[in-house]
Structures are given as structure tokens and as C-alpha cells.
């Protein structure tokens, strides 16, 4: 979807509805790629026509109907080679041509995410697939987030979508026995979208997290995800001061969203009472600990380091190892921090800004000014966000 020349309205509608449009068509036609193409076509048509015809009363309904027509036209064109399943879907769709498009557009995004999480899809591509189909991120941006070249990511995504269509991976909700493993992948997908820090993706991710927790109130990890994003979101406003970035340690807790933190605490308590611990409950507990500063004026670093240790046993990731190292610096365990950072393979961290920030933090405490500067410089090179870059430059100058 290229919205760079879009009138602001088309762009806004696309942002609001892209995932819902794709999900609705993909679920009905069982073909993600065709659904994406059709929505892309509809957006292009909107860009061409709306400036002259004016914007329709219900732009999303217009896009939905147009995308469906595009899909049907293309399907008819390909009919000779069409698969039996798509033929069924087309016939069914043709029969209900005159229906009310908006209400029935519904929200099939979670359903589509569970399809992307099917075990027959390679694990390394599941989250990326969700980000693209449900949130409309392009392969280039996804590749950056996963440290993979955009073209490679693009090929993997195309392959996965073909597999879903050609092997007929079902679009029905998974059975209870399958739910737990797929739920984890869906939660990771939503959290990955939240972690992009892109304002509109963050909002979508929070909305999806709420949807998931409402759908599955007995799943502690789904509740924990919602708690986690609320804890982090509660501190969002305080992380900027007149356009400048403010790191967590320097944030004014008076600007934290108290209600959001308290509701997150409630969710986390409910999750814990279900007595099925999991990595997202630990992640949420870590964020809960960070938020304690609002009530006690202090950050319980020892508890945070302990929680990262638990997380490392449950689900070790590069990010959590780095965060634990930072925690160890805070409690004065510089040796432990160095051990953790040294243990990470250079191929995994060389292009990862948080690693260099942790290095800089550790060098600072040791009193290694040269090490601190070079690590900060490396982090600046690897940071694309302008506000964050400015903050790091300022820190670099403050030697």
C-alpha cells in the first residue's frame, strides 16, 4: 500500500480500516494475498476518484464494497485455474452482493492472526505475517524490525501466504488443545506491533490487546498482555517533554497515567490468580515494578533483576538479557552485567541499538569514558527515531 501521495483522508481511512478490510476479505475468500491486492486496488481507486467525485458518505463501506468487487473480478478472470474452494467462496459472495457492507465487515483481525499463528507456518515468519496482514506494515519495515533484508522478508511473507491458501490452512478458530500455543504467537504479534513505537500501530495494538483479553478472559497471558501495554502506555506522555525524549529514570511520575496503571495492576492480579504463569505475566510484572516509583518514589531494581532471571528461564530473548544487564548495573553488580552482555553473540547484537545503550551505561558506571562514547556513537548510528537520536547526542555531549 503506497499512501505517500494519498490525500490525507484516504490515508486516514486506510490507517483506520486497512487491517479490518484485509481480514474480512481474507477470512471470507481464504486467500490473504488476493485480499491485500484487492484492498490495495480499492485504495488506489479512492485516490483517483474521491478528489473529483467527492468522498462517499461511508468511506469504509465504499472501500469494502470496491475491494470485494476487485477480488471478484480478478477471481472471474482467473476462473479457469481457480481452485474449487475459491469457487465456492466466490459463488457464496456473489449470492450476497446486496448486503450491508459495514456492519458485516466486523472485526476478523484476531481470527486472521490465529491463522497466521498456525503451526504449519514457519515460526520465524508468524509475527511478521501478522504485522503485514493485520496492521499493513510493509516488508521493508518488518524486515528492519526483525533485522532481515526487506527483500528476504518479502519472499518469506509471500511463501507463507501461498502456503495458507494452497495447503488450505483453515480459517476457523483453533480447538482448545491448539489454542494455547497459537495464542502465544498472537500475543507476540500484538506486542511486536506495540513495540514498533509508531503512534498509529501502538493504538491498533492496544485495541487488539483489549479485544483479545475480552475474548479470552480465562487466559492469563492474554490478560497479562493488556496489563503490559497499559503499564507502558501509562508512561508514554511522560517520555516526552516539549518534544524531547525523557528516559524512564528521569520521568516525572506525576505525568504517569495513574488510572491506567491501577487497571493494569488489576488485570495482572486476575491473571496471576488463574495460576498458569507465562512470559507475558513476568514482562507485565517487570513493568508493574517500574511503575511502583509512582507510589513509593523508588524503583525496586532487585525485584526487577530477579524477574528478568525468571523470564530468562521461561523464554530467553536478546532483549530481556540486555534489560537484565541494565538492572544489574543499577544494583551495582557490574561484573554480572558484563557477563550477560559478553555472552550475547556479536552477530545478534552488533546492529541492535539497545545493546550499545546497555554497553554505554555499564562503561559509564565503570568509569570508562572512551567505551561509553564509542558505544553511544554506535547506538546513535543504529537509531532511526529523530527524538531519540537527539536525546542520545545530548547524552554523548554530556561527558
Amino acid at each position: 500500500m503506497d499512501a505517500s501521495h494519498a490525500s490525507p483522508l484516504v490515508e486516514r481511512v486506510a490507517r483506520e480500516a486497512y487491517g479490518r478490510l484485509v481480514a474480512s476479505l481474507a477470512v471470507r475468500f481464504r486467500d490473504i494475498h488476493a485480499a491485500e491486492d484487492a484492498v490495495g486496488d480499492a485504495l488506489r481507486l479512492a485516490l483517483e476518484r474521491w478528489p473529483t467525485t467527492g468522498v462517499p458518505d461511508e468511506p469504509i463501506a465504499w472501500l469494502s464494497a470496491t475491494a470485494k468487487n476487485q477480488l471478484l473480478q480478478r477471481a472471474r478472470h482467473d476462473e479457469v485455474v481457480a481452485r474449487e474452494t475459491s469457487l465456492h467462496a466466490i459463488t457464496a459472495a456473489l449470492e450476497e452482493r446486496n448486503e450491508r457492507p459495514v456492519e458485516e465487515l466486523g472485526d476478523e483481525r484476531l481470527r486472521l492472526m490465529f491463522v497466521c499463528a498456525h503451526p504449519a507456518i514457519d515460526e520465524s515468519v508468524r509475527t511478521a505475517l501478522m504485522l503485514q496482514t493485520v496492521l499493513g506494515l510493509d516488508a521493508e519495515a518488518i524486515g528492519r524490525a526483525f533485522l532481515v533484508p526487506g527483500a528476504t522478508m518479502g519472499q518469506r511473507l509471500v511463501r507463507a501466504k501461498r502456503k495458507i491458501r494452497d495447503a488450505a490452512i483453515p480459517f476457523e478458530a483453533p480447538e482448545a488443545s491448539e489454542l494455547a500455543s497459537r495464542l502465544h504467537a498472537v500475543i507476540e504479534g500484538i506486542y511486536a506491533a506495540f513495540a514498533t513505537d509508531d503512534a498509529s500501530l501502538v493504538d491498533e495494538a492496544m485495541f487488539l490487546a483489549e479485544l483479545l483479553a475480552t475474548d479470552l478472559p480465562e487466559e492469563p497471558e492474554a490478560l497479562a498482555l493488556l496489563a503490559l501495554v497499559r503499564f507502558r502506555h501509562a508512561r508514554r506522555a511522560a517520555s516526552r517533554d516539549e518534544g524531547r525524549f525523557v528516559p524512564l529514570a528521569e520521568q516525572d511520575t506525576a505525568r504517569w497515567d495513574r488510572a491506567s496503571i491501577l487497571s493494569a495492576e488489576d488485570l495482572l492480579r486476575t491473571a496471576a490468580s488463574l495460576r498458569r504463569p507465562g512470559p507475558f505475566q513476568i514482562e507485565a510484572a517487570i513493568q508493574s515494578a517500574h511503575c511502583q516509583r509512582l507510589f513509593t518514589g523508588q524503583t525496586p531494581w532487585r525485584a526487577i533483576v530477579h524477574l528478568y532471571g525468571v523470564l530468562a528461564r521461561l523464554a530467553p530473548t536478546t532483549g530481556s538479557t540486555i534489560a537484565e544487564a541494565v538492572g544489574r548495573v543499577e544494583i551495582g553488580d557490574l561484573e554480572g552485567a558484563a557477563l550477560l552482555l559478553d555472552g550475547l553473540g556479536p552477530q545478534h547484537v552488533a546492529a541492535y541499538a539497545p545493546y550499545w545503550l546497555a554497553r554505554a551505561h555499564l562503561a559509564d558506571r565503570i568509569g570508562d569514558a572512551t567505551g561509553r562514547s564509542s558505544a553511544l556513537e554506535r547506538a546513535i548510528e543504529l537509531t532511526s527515531d529523530a527524538t531519540l537520536r537527539a536525546h542520545l547526542r545530548e547524552r554523548l555531549a554530556r561527558t
Binding site: V80, E84, H118, A120, D166, A167, A168, I169, P170
Partner: protein
Amino acid sequence: MQYMLMFFETDEALAKRESPTEAPAYWGAWTAYVKELRGSGAVVNGDGLLPPHTATRVSFREGKRVVQDGPHPDTKEHLGGYFVIEAKDLDAALAYAAKCPATLSGHVEIRPVMPPMPRG
């Protein structure tokens, strides 16, 4: 939608076919599986295959026909048989495949059957 279930077995599993002590359990498990699958009405066709030592390979290299004995030497698990089944989607095919005795030491590969080529 049709899927082929390909049953890949390890050498150890295949050796049980001829073992006086292990053959009854081996064939018992397969007979039960085949009976259940056929009973479900899903089977389009299928066969068991004689063991890999009966295999012959043929290929053309630089215009010459090359015939060799046995399966490809890199193959660790051998195709022991297959079914083509009718199933509504991959999960349904997976459910049939998961019950197969080959899954206990070897594996089952599931592939959609190519739809018929358009005429003309």
C-alpha cells in the same frame, strides 16, 4: 480438497517388518490405522511399498541413462507407503496423519494434491 499423506519410516521401523518378534506389533499397528482410515471414507487411494532395498533410481546425465540400485544414499527416512485422502482442510488432513504409526519414529509429510490442469 485432496491431500497425499506420505509415510516416512526409519530403517529401524522398517526392519521390524521382517523381525519374528516385532513384526506382529508392527503390522498390527498399521492394519489398525489402515482400517480406521478406510472406514472413515476419506481414502481416495493408497498403497504400502516394499522396503527400500527393492528401490531402483533412474536419471539422465549428459544424455546417458543412469540406473542405480537403492534409494538416494542421503535418505535417512524412507517412503514406506502413502494415501491420497479427501479432507476439508489442512487441520482435517493433519488429524488423519497424526494417528499414523510412522509418526512414532519417522514422520508423515502432508501435501495438497495439485488441482486438475485446465483443459484446452
